[in-house]
């Protein structure tokens, strides 16, 4: 199963890198969101997917899945959520201010065009 998931991680990374390289700001943000999914899945996979019990302590049981990657992913999910939300609002605002979401056109200081 792990090998399958590693390939899925690679695939997700490919897709997100492709999106990040595009010109539209929205596609870039979706790409970063996708990249964080790939990273979370990667952490989980690397921790090992051995079948075990849910990591909730019960007396006399020792066969749990590894809780550390889960704690790490939990932290990562929250942080990536915060960053994605901030990026999204930033993109929204810059689109409002600059009138474009094409990153190729976002160069230098916007000129005041007095019409």
């Amino acid at each position: 199963m792990e090998i399958v998931l590693i390939f899925v991680c690679g695939f997700l990374t490919s897709i997100s890198v492709y999106l990040i390289l595009s010109k539209s700001l929205i596609r870039i943000i979706i790409g970063t969101a996708l990249l964080s999914h790939a990273a979370n899945l990667f952490i989980l996979t690397m921790g090992g997917l051995k079948t075990g019990r849910v990591p909730i302590y019960e007396k006399g049981v020792s066969n749990y899945v590894d809780p550390i990657p889960q704690a790490l992913i939990l932290t990562a999910i929250v942080i990536s959520f915060a960053v994605t939300a901030f990026f999204l609002v930033l993109a929204f605002r810059s689109y409002k201010e600059l009138g474009t979401d094409n990153v190729e056109r976002m160069k230098g200081v916007p000129q005041d065009d007095d019409e």
Binding site: Y18, L21, T45, Y57, P67, L74, V89
Partner: protein, 805 residues
């Protein structure tokens, strides 16, 4: 600290106080307050003559940074003392001269501050025994001379000259530092005397040649040797006292000092002898040839200085031959050292005076252009007399001191061809020839210097001011120097026993040096060479107007200045061009570089580092997990091809929810819960912005653009996959989670391991994760609430949208 340390630092300390004095007390010319400083130092250094003559030396040391061996070690021997006396003696005369030269309207505070810094720096260079301290003072001389050259900051040429001298001397200074570090590597000491005593270590070390090249480079740039002389003529934009002091008597001799000081280390090398001699002679020839065609008095003197420095340098090179002989044979070549030291003194006297006379002429007439000057003989009789004495000394005419040293110079150039080592008897025959030809031009420009100013017709209408004799105050310093020129010429023993012999002894490897200079040697080869110089020099003078125009018409493309300027112009240009190739300002460009490097470095590492794969512990594939996998793959692919934003947002949520389902499959209930909630909120957020967001336009992506992106994304995906496989296939030790599994209840009183890790075992992470969330929240709030209050804010987009409709 000792008196010697205080002597070296005294000008530096006064450099702090003098400008303060200037600020509050302006009635008396500031120069009068500065004058006692070099004078007192001069008297102080005179007291060292007696011990140095008897072969003793004085050493003083003060700890500065002992951890790195940088101590303020001072060492006074014949060579250091000679330079110190030149610096303080000519320094006093220059300060005296500057009192009449600079009016009180100038920024005297700045001028004397820079000059005193320079004086300290120069004393530090010649008296330091520690290479690091020497380097420190060396750069301080570059720095203060930069300030002095650009003293008239409003003139563009001053700034150009200052910049040029800074670039070239600092280039040499850094190379010098490299050489010093190599010397330290070879011997483990920073002290020059210790290094010289361990000279065999250096000579056998692999750094020998490299250190030699670096040090010669440093000395040649400072002493304006070919091809680095180009900064000196441009440094003539400085006030004339500065030119007289820095660019004739002191700073330009720092390189000569260094070569002389380190001769005991490098003299064994044939490369050293040949480089120093050959470059010195080329400089002698090239400088004197160019001096003849200058139109500016200071230009003549600048090139003349270049040429004379080359002469001294070549004598130091010849003197190094003495290290290969013993006894009387050695003495034959040591004579070149004493000639070099002797000419050093002579050059300082006559060149300092010549600069001061030029300044006086400039002051009196308002110009230094030889085309406008002429016929000042009767108007400026004192200056005329002084310049006759000093110019003829420069030309090498008896009975002045220049004659004695030039005779000795020719003598040593001719003697060295008999030495029979290092090809000196074959190719070495060129040495006296170049020396004689160079001296002919020296003869020409020295006479030209006199005749252009003082002879010919007086043309008052061409001159900016009405010419008049310089003030007495202005003539004191050159008169003292000219008196010295005659005195040393007639009685060379005045300087030979107290100065020349101890200094030559410091350079040479012999215990006793007998320096005697005579007006008449008999019919020696040097005598005939001098005669030849006079005759051909006279012929060249008579035909001056026939050959000099040819020299002046030489194309600029073959001058070194042209190449310097081109380098200065094109280096920034090409640097900008190169920077522009990768700093395009497009975000995609930077990302491509980052991703490409990631791919490249990973693959290079994979090729060179062996690895193994071992999938023993892989868990079985289950059907329902595969369904999630397929969902994720399909949804992600859909995003890539999506044309509408709503579709792509929904597909992104599909990936997110599938992730949550994965978390359920793999027994991570907290993760699944969080993922569901977060995914819902993000989707909501995307949908909130939905109305305002533009469509998923591709912005005319060309095929090559797409292909490049696809290649890079496939590459990154492959890198991630391969790294994942390798990392998973090489487990080295067990997880530490067994500790948490065992102690979650008895240590932390909780049963949910993930939660206990988050808030108890590793609570710090959670604290800052919450901070991240808080900061993002505040950032979003700020972004939405605080808007730029300019008219094109939100309205701009609305205007555009309206226009589209």
């Amino acid at each position: 600290m000792s008196w010697l340390h205080i002597a070296v630092l005294l000008p530096l300390i006064s450099a702090l106080l003098i400008p303060v004095l200037y600020r509050f007390y302006k009635r008396i010319h500031l120069g009068w307050f500065v004058l006692p400083i070099p004078f007192v130092l001069f008297i102080y250094f005179l007291s060292y003559i007696k011990p140095t003559m008897s072969g003793q030396y004085t050493e003083q040391s003060a700890a500065w940074m002992p951890q790195i061996g940088m101590n303020f070690d001072i060492y006074v021997d014949g060579l250091g003392l000679l330079f110190s006396l030149l610096i303080t003696g000519i320094g006093s005369l220059v300060v005296l001269y500057s009192i009449s030269y600079l009016s009180e309207k100038e920024q005297l505070g700045n001028f004397y501050c820079y000059l005193l810094i320079f004086m300290s720096a120069m004393l530090g260079v010649v008296l330091s025994d520690n290479l690091l301290v020497l380097y420190f003072f060396w750069e301080l001389t570059s720095f203060s001379s930069f300030l002095l050259i650009s003293f008239w900051r409003h003139k563009e040429k001053s700034l150009y000259g200052a910049m040029k001298s800074m670039m070239i001397t600092v280039f040499g200074g850094l190379s010098l530092l490299g050489g010093f570090i190599l010397l330290h590597q070879a011997t483990g000491s920073w002290r020059i005397r210790e290094i010289i005593s361990q000279v065999s270590d250096i000579q056998s070390s692999p750094f020998f040649v490299l250190a030699m090249v670096f040090i010669i480079l440093g000395a040649m740039t400072k002493s304006a040797q070919f091809p680095f002389y180009i900064w000196l003529p441009d440094a003539m934009e400085a006030p004339t006292p500065v030119s007289a002091y820095l660019h004739s008597a002191t700073m330009v001799k720092a390189g000569i000092y260094l070569i002389a000081r380190l001769t005991p280390i490098f003299a064994v090398s044939q490369g050293w002898i040949w480089t120093v001699t050959a470059f010195g002679l080329v400089t002698l020839f090239w400088g004197s040839l160019n001096a003849t065609k200058q139109q500016d008095l200071k230009g003549i003197l600048a090139f003349s200085t270049v040429s004379q420095l080359g002469m001294i340098m070549s004598m130091l090179g010849i003197g190094a031959v003495s290290y290969h002989f013993e006894g009387a044979d050695s003495q034959l070549y040591v004579a070149a050292f004493s000639a070099a030291v002797f000419h050093l003194i002579n050059h300082a006297t006559f060149k300092g005076a010549l600069f001061m006379i030029t300044g006086a002429v400039d002051h009196a007439t308002g110009t230094r252009d030889i085309k406008k000057l002429g016929g000042l003989m009767t108007i400026m009789p004192i200056s005329f007399t002084l310049s006759i004495i000093t110019s003829l000394s420069m030309a090498g005419v008896p009975p002045f001191n220049g004659f004695l040293s030039k005779e000795q110079f020719l003598e040593s150039m001719i003697t060295v061809t008999d030495s029979g080592i290092f090809n000196l008897s074959s190719i070495g025959l060129l040495l006296p020839i170049v020396a004689i030809v160079g001296s002919m031009f020296t003869f020409v420009y020295s006479f030209k210097f006199i005749s252009e100013i003082f002879l010919g017709e007086y043309t008052p209408d061409k001159l900016p001011h009405k010419a008049h004799e310089a003030s007495i105050l202005m003539n004191i310093s050159p008169t003292i120097l000219a008196t010295l020129v005659i005195a040393i010429g007639l009685f060379p023993s005045l300087v030979s026993a107290p100065f020349v012999e101890p200094a030559a002894k410091a350079i040479a490897n012999v215990d006793t040096v007998h320096a005697e200079f005579h007006m008449w040697h008999g019919f020696t080869p040097a005598f005939f060479a001098t005669l030849l110089i006079y005759i051909i020099g006279a012929v060249l003078l008579l035909t001056f107007n026939k050959w000099v125009p040819v020299l002046r018409k030489l194309p600029t493309a073959i001058t070194l200045n042209h190449w310097y300027d081109q380098t200065g112009r094109y280096t920034p240009y090409y640097a900008t061009q190169i920077t522009r190739t990768y700093m395009t300002g497009f975000i995609r460009n930077n990302l491509v570089i980052i991703f490409f490097m990631m791919i490249a470095i990973t693959f290079v590492t994979l090729i060179f580092v062996p690895f193994s794969l071992d999938f023993v512990k892989v868990s079985p594939v289950r059907l329902y997990e595969m369904i999630s996998v397929i969902t994720i793959i399909v949804a992600a692919t859909m995003i890539m091809f999506a044309r509408s934003r709503l579709f792509s947002i929904i597909m992104l949520s599909a990936v997110g929810y599938s992730m949550a389902i994965f978390f359920i499959f793999f027994n991570a209930p907290d993760l699944a819960l969080t993922q569901f909630v977060v995914e819902t909120i993000s989707t909501a957020l995307f949908l909130l912005c939905f109305y305002h967001l533009p469509n998923m336009s591709r912005y005319n992506e060309t095929t090559s653009y797409k292909v490049g992106n696809v290649l890079i994304s496939i590459g990154v995906g492959t890198v991630v996959t391969i790294l994942g496989l390798i990392a998973y296939g090489n487990r080295h030790f067990e997880s530490i989670s067994s500790f948490y599994k065992e102690h979650v209840y008895d240590l932390a009183e909780g049963k949910n391991m993930v939660n206990v890790i988050l808030v108890d075992f590793r609570g710090m992470d959670t604290l800052f994760e919450s901070s991240v969330l808080g900061i993002a929240g505040m950032g979003i709030y700020t972004l939405i609430k605080l808007r730029a209050k300019h008219k094109n804010g939100y309205e701009r987009v609305e205007k555009i949208e309206q226009a589209k409709k």
